[in-house]
Symmetry: C2
Subunit: 355 residues, 2 copies
């Protein structure tokens, strides 16, 4: 008989298996219908369990943001990993080379400095070259070459290095600006073709634009992360409904110091300080008018002024966090649940892999 | 020969041992000079190593915010622990009772519900009663009874329970409002004395007001946490200088996509999203005019427009975080350094103890 969630100690993470499965299936169906390959970003769940399920459903591989995450996934048997990050410094390049021996590995670069590091490391690997995509800043303003011409120049540099192979283009599009990113990528792809360096892969991503992935017709793969769980920020953006959200934090009301104030046993160490432009640090399920107006590290302050019924001390609440991904990173374990029962409690194997 | 920090992989945490030692010593000297007992809050470092050092220097015990942290510290041999938190639910009360068998333990309560839970759990422990302080909301607006009269009533309830003993008053004063908190506590202490329930301990705390701890003359102990490391927020408040700050995050510039923008390999997963009312997500040491204007999980965006010299790709930077405590919680290990050399890399034993 599976444990009831009432027996769990709080705060803890609940992941609804049925919802996660439905979210994965819906995105895979969408990708299949539009001829886009999925390469899910595991930063959201950090679990080999779900990475394997994503592959079973049709994903062509996974995306990791840090080398340490990729190492955990390789240890778990994942065979195709994209690491869209500039890997720098001898110790990390050594780890990268070791990793490339056991998985099909791709990375990105956005400068000659980064390409030179890869080339030096893989100079003796011409038989199994490292696949390097050029990261493009198509509007998000983070990493990436600034112009299609710069993308072509860097592609040429990569293609000319022994031990490296030019793999294509990668970008992280700005939310809601897929058309701008598309134009950027189309121009770069055209110039690459003219230069005799066709982009094998054009990789875009991000859950906020997941249902518009097909609009970037030139893209060959998409890297959504949060779509497995969704979260309050994605509900606010209209990408999913509260009922789609698979990750909650189960908390306990530890104090009711006033008629309207409740204090829960989850603060920024459980929910993070991420506001993502919203008001409040999460949504109290079942109390739509409650506002989580403040967090300290181990306490959350909730205003129940507008709620007709108010919880008692000792009552448990489910919080939909603003941002699911960093919550996964704060817990050593998550509880996979079906309804109100715990199917399994598993370690967040790729948690805390900072480098 | 100790390792140079240049050989560390980034992002990683550097803790300057000499600065931490000076910070601990200065606070202990202050406490000794003013007759206040220190009971440091270990939430900042989460390390038995420093907890033991705090005790060696004269602290009377430690403070932990969560049961899991207290268990780690007890495992490490710490013998006197204050847990200023309402512990609720059978599983946690069981752990609390187990913990009470091996350390001198104190807890808090701010409602009859919480007191009843302790009383039920410790009813058969009249020979070794649990020390329960009343948490007072003296202005911070978090947990705590709302009036001195309510404090007396709860003290009376505690004192009347077999297996419990009334231990005094605890508050977390609002920053910069020590006089208000003082008046509250004085009134409560007076009424408790009149009721024949004198407060053995009156515990206040918080690093922001550390140098004003003596103004609350009625307080017998003080629970500072961040004073061991300080951070950018405490420099902004005038409590410490940048040169006092003992915890930095060592990062690498992974991209310089434009003339003025740099991207570092530390985002909210290393620095947290805590702004604490400030502009920017940390201070770039050596580049006083640089602004960390944005974080995603694994990237930090820095504007170097106002900096005459700008870092190159591959250059390492030291970041003074806004808030040291949650940074400790994000890393499995910290590097204890002296100057630019690593003395020891130790596990953050009480990291991630969410419950």
């Amino acid at each position: 008989m599976p444990r009831h969630i009432d027996t769990l100690q709080t705060p803890c993470v609940l992941v609804d298996l049925d919802r996660a499965e439905a979210n994965l299936q819906r995105a895979q169906d969408y990708a299949d219908a539009h001829g886009v390959r999925l390469r899910p970003h595991i930063k959201t769940h950090k679990l080999p369990f779900f990475a394997k399920r994503q592959l079973e459903l049709g994903a062509i591989g996974i995306t990791c943001q840090k080398l340490g995450e990729a190492e955990v996934m390789a240890d778990a048997g994942i065979e195709d990993i994209f690491l869209p990050y500039n890997i720098i410094a001898p110790e990390k390049l050594y780890r990268l080379k070791e990793l490339a021996k056991r998985v099909t590995l791709s990375v990105t670069a956005d400068s000659a400095f980064v390409v030179d590091g890869y080339a030096e490391t893989f100079a003796d690997s011409a038989h199994a070259p490292l696949n390097v995509l050029v990261e493009c800043d198509s509007g998000a303003g983070r990493c990436g070459v600034q112009t299609p011409d710069a993308a072509v120049a860097l592609a040429r540099l990569i293609a000319g290095k022994r031990g490296l192979v030019f793999g294509g283009l990668m970008t992280y599009p700005p939310a809601g600006d897929a058309p701008g990113a598309r134009k950027w990528l189309e121009e770069a792809a055209e110039k690459l073709a003219e230069a005799g360096l066709p982009a094998k892969t054009i990789s875009t991503g991000g859950t906020p634009d997941i249902w518009r992935a097909h609009e970037t017709t030139i893209a060959t793969e998409y890297r959504p992360g949060t779509y497995i769980y969704y979260d309050r920020s994605l509900v606010a953006r209209g990408v999913a409904t509260v009922e789609d959200c698979a990750l909650n934090v189960l908390v306990t009301v530890v104090s009711r110091p006033t008629e309207t104030r409740a204090i829960i046993d989850a603060g920024s160490k459980a929910l993070t300080s991420d506001l993502l432009g919203m008001t409040g640090y999460g949504q109290v399920l079942g109390y739509p008018d409650a506002v989580i107006y403040g967090l300290s590290e181990e306490h959350g302050n909730i205003d129940f002024t507008a709620s007709a019924t108010k919880p008692k001390v000792g009552e448990r609440l489910r919080i939909l966090p603003n941002h699911a991904c960093p919550v996964s990173n704060l817990f050593d374990h998550v509880n996979l649940v079906s309804g109100d029962h715990v199917v399994e409690t598993i370690e967040v194997a790729a948690r805390g892999r900072v480098d």
